[in-house]
Symmetry: C2
């Protein structure tokens, strides 16, 4: 927790906030070993970043006087279109992508996504929110990503994909594609990444028909969570 | 398991290999759902890659006729000098770095590494070997990385670091350093990455004195496992 992310309910007046949940209190007590007078990095959910002077801390509450100073880090110019990972990997991927600065994420069904993954409790909105918040706290960011679920491939591609590709560079990362992953681009980008085992040929064809350029990361086949980080870091 | 990695003990003659361990047999039966006649990607530990024709498969053994065709993917030109991560993250980091093509890894003690991490069973040579093998199988590589443990910072820096920096570009990735992480370099590189919480100032100074250039990945603070993948993917 490199930033204490304040939700609207944490504020007691315009300059003061109180943290009461056990997760953050425990972190302040056990990891930060914070004591009154300490200055800690704080941010306002979807708002600015600054510091909080710790006024008091006990097992029930931490009270801060908050001063906001700067904007959060710039988001990545990307909408990530990701085949739904298996639940344990989904949790980590939500944290990684939020920490890396992804603000728009669509989780998509593809042939090689097991149907049971769509029943996972990890897809509950509260669980998704928790993982995104952990990623923001890690990276010192405040802007909450939006996550959209698309449990059917074909209706998504036919009905909603055109609006996502409009005005964006669309890239599909898939082993064996023609072009090496470009480096350091600044285009507003829609980036599609398949599941473990990859997209099937039909899915690649549909996305290429929809205007996606195929890119690859070389001969090595990476786990989805590694590939997501590697692609985002190389592209932007 | 995108490649069946054959150890010397798996060979029965110059063209045939038999896999007998339960992990790989279960994977062949349950994930690949392999049947005799199937061609699967195989590789020889520290050697070439090709295919294996499955001759027979039951609960005790999988027999292959092996044909080797090509060299494994090129290694990354990097020696990674990594502060020892906490045990669970170490396991994943070993897999990620092996999959990404790191061949030389030194795990280093620094001030913010908890001393207890050095007692973890994850540091047993057999456990390290297992995680590296999983990374190679994932990425379709055969060359086993070497891992060196350096449980004392100062003797390492004074006695053994000069031999590692000689003839290499040395980079230390640390938040707040002067230069942005370079992209697409081909230099033989020694890359130092700190623990959760970072190197302490004294350690940064010692490494800079030893010839390291400071680099950063931007404002965001990433978990070590995310930072390792992001740095390797952007640098090489």
């Amino acid at each position: 927790m490199n930033l204490i992310l304040l939700s609207p309910t944490d504020w007691t007046d315009a300059e003061h906030a109180t943290v009461r949940d056990s997760r953050r209190l425990r972190h302040l007590l056990e990891v930060h070993k914070a004591t009154p007078g300490d200055r800690l990095t704080v941010g306002v959910l979807d708002g600015r970043i600054g510091h909080g002077e710790l006024l008091s801390l006990d097992a029930d509450a931490a009270r801060f006087r908050v001063t906001l100073e700067r904007e959060p880090p710039a988001p990545l110019p990307v909408h990530l279109l990701l085949a739904l990972p298996r639940p344990r990997m989904l949790a980590r991927t939500l944290e990684h992508t939020a920490a890396l600065g992804v603000k728009r994420l669509t989780l998509l069904h593809t042939r090689r996504v097991e149907k049971s993954y769509w029943q996972s409790p990890e897809l509950n909105p509260e669980k998704i929110h928790q993982h995104l918040m952990l990623g923001l706290e890690q990276a010192r960011d405040t802007r909450l990503p939006t996550v959209t679920l698309e449990p059917r491939f074909k209706p998504f591609v036919e009905d909603r994909l055109p609006a996502l590709t409009a005005g964006r560079r669309a890239l599909i990362a898939h082993p064996g594609m023609a072009s090496a992953c470009p480096r350091g681009i600044t285009d507003d980008t829609l980036l599609a990444i398949g599941p473990e085992g990859g997209f099937v040929d039909y899915e690649v064809e549909r996305l290429v028909d929809a205007g996606f350029e195929g890119i690859h990361l070389g001969e090595r086949i990476l786990r989805v969570e590694t590939a997501v980080t590697a692609l985002l870091s190389r592209l932007f």
